[in-house]
Symmetry: C2
Subunit: 333 residues, 2 copies
């Protein structure tokens, strides 16, 4: 039987363990458009139980090697009731060229022949809302397909990547002794999203200083109260496997903490709301761009180019024509 391209059929097949169907579903999600929406809708209505872990840090920090080690750990010990592992390796496009930056996926190929490991790269293609929406959709699809754990690894620490990595149940930020410019430039952002820090290549000089720096920053930003979580700092040498047991245990402790505090569901709901807002904005932008491309706004546009309307006036003029935010829309079915 030739493989179907119908989202519902693919979805059923993926739920029954068909990895080819699962890969196709993720391709549909990545490409965006109607089929992507259909897939996302199916996954939303049949949620699984995957626990998601984001891995971010500067290029060269050793994220791929760490991911590789975590895969082995999950295969051996299991997590969240299962021993299969899914990985989304996120390569954002450049903001200008649309070209994807390729991460080093080579090390993960050691698991390529293992049926219990599902690895997938994702870039921004045509997906409405970009990676910030496509990746949560993809995680939901993997969850619906029965994956107990999904690792989401980003190439770098760009704003998009940080947002994507933060949209997971446990977010780990990987640094190296001495840090680097790329981390420094976004230190506050990384500090805010980190559920745990990994000092990888901790056998290099400067690891202790880096730990002190991180502790100091955490002291400054620490939340008080009995339910607060302070991000632990774990030393690893991913190339030798040193510290991986401790890292694995720290992920488990963070999950336990969330479950005990009842914050896991609340945080997932918050992320859903952010996702919804992103879809909403992307849809509006799509409508506006479509209308501009159709030449429907030519009068206002000409007036602006001629200098008769400033861009704010031109925007107001257009919005007066297209938006009415007063009424509550019709009730849900």
């Amino acid at each position: 039987m030739p493989p179907s391209s119908d989202p519902s059929q693919l979805f059923e097949a993926a739920r029954n363990g068909d990895r080819v169907a699962l890969a196709r579903l993720l391709s549909l999600v990545e490409r965006g458009g109607e089929p992507s929406r259909a897939v996302a809708g199916l996954a939303f209505k049949s949620p699984g139980n995957a626990y998601s872990v984001g891995i971010t840090g500067a290029p060269g920090a050793g994220k791929s090697t760490l991911t590789d080690r975590l895969i082995a750990q999950g295969r051996a010990l299991g997590f969240n009731g299962g021993k299969t592992m899914a990985v989304l390796a996120v390569d954002p496009s450049s903001p200008f060229s649309g070209g994807a930056i390729l991460g080093d996926r080579v090390r993960m190929q050691g698991h390529a022949l293992d049926d219990g490991v599902f690895i997938r790269s994702m870039a921004t293609r045509g997906h409405l809302g970009g990676l910030a929406v496509a990746v949560p959709d993809a995680v939901r699809v993997l969850s619906a397909a029965g994956m107990p754990m999904v690792l989401v690894e980003t190439v770098g620490v760009g704003q998009q990547e940080v947002e994507v990595a933060a949209a997971t149940d446990t977010t780990m930020v990987v640094v190296n002794p001495g840090w680097g410019d790329a981390i420094q430039a976004n230190k506050a952002g990384l500090l805010e999203i980190a559920d745990l820090f990994v000092i990888n290549k901790a056998d290099r000089p400067g690891a202790q200083q880096t730990r002190r720096d991180l502790e100091q920053m955490l002291d400054l930003t620490e939340l008080s109260g009995p339910g607060a979580w302070r991000a632990p700092i774990v030393d690893t040498v991913a190339s030798t496997g040193e510290g991986i047991d401790a890292l694995w245990a720290a992920i488990g402790r963070h999950r336990q903490h969330q479950i005990q505090q009842g914050t896991l569901e609340a945080q997932r709901r918050e992320r859903l709301e952010r996702e919804f807002r992103q879809i909403l904005v992307a849809r509006v932008v799509q409508e506006i761009d479509g209308a501009v491309a159709d030449g429907r706004f030519t009068e206002v546009h000409s007036a602006m180019v001629d200098g008769d309307l400033d861009p704010y006036q031109a925007a107001d003029r257009l919005l007066a024509g297209i938006m009415d935010v007063n009424p509550d829309p019709p009730a849900a079915p």
Copy 2:
């Protein structure tokens, strides 16, 4: 007479050389809201003739020292019919914390007592559309106030900063021998926006290799045709002033090229259109966020949280209630 806070009065004073009034106008622009719109509108209607130069590159590349040297050059030699120099030093907020990253402004203080130099830091405050809209507004205000040249320097190479630096007449990308992670992560984006490359600290090892790398990348992306501009690569040692004459000349050549090819006005118009779209999107987001905060969308929202609508369906439901993009809006006055 106490200083006015009325945009029109401040604007007239700034056009008559009042630097305090000019600083206040830029504060209004930075803060956003109605006064900012008024200022932007006045500047749009009384355009000056400033030539804008964007300076971007990784933290530590030496952008502030280069800016300092360019200020001295402009003061001595003049540019675009004048010898005053304006600098906007752009510090974007972290995407998460709202805290501004502070650049090294110390070196520029050498010009602090010079009346012919106007230096101003800008962060994202409440401005609708963020720096991508606030900075072009600020450049327009400086232009209306009679500045012949405006340097726009960013702290790093984040997406926002790259966009801001690219929204100028000549965009220079500053690298160092060996490049760095921060540049690597956004190489394609930087290549696309660069009108000229500066290899600063060119007395360090690796400068020749960096030049070869850049030339090779430019070979791969070079446009053909008689009107095409190939970004020149200028070696500098900003700390000693070496290469600054060549850099200054390269900026002048790029400007001449644009004037001769007739592309200067076309590119400014394109930037205005991008700015307009950003304002439009920001306004729509503002409307949506306002409506969400008011609880006007509670039914749809609850249906999504309860799992009855997926986020795409919820977005569609809302948009059906608030948008109508079909009609061309009323004609301009």
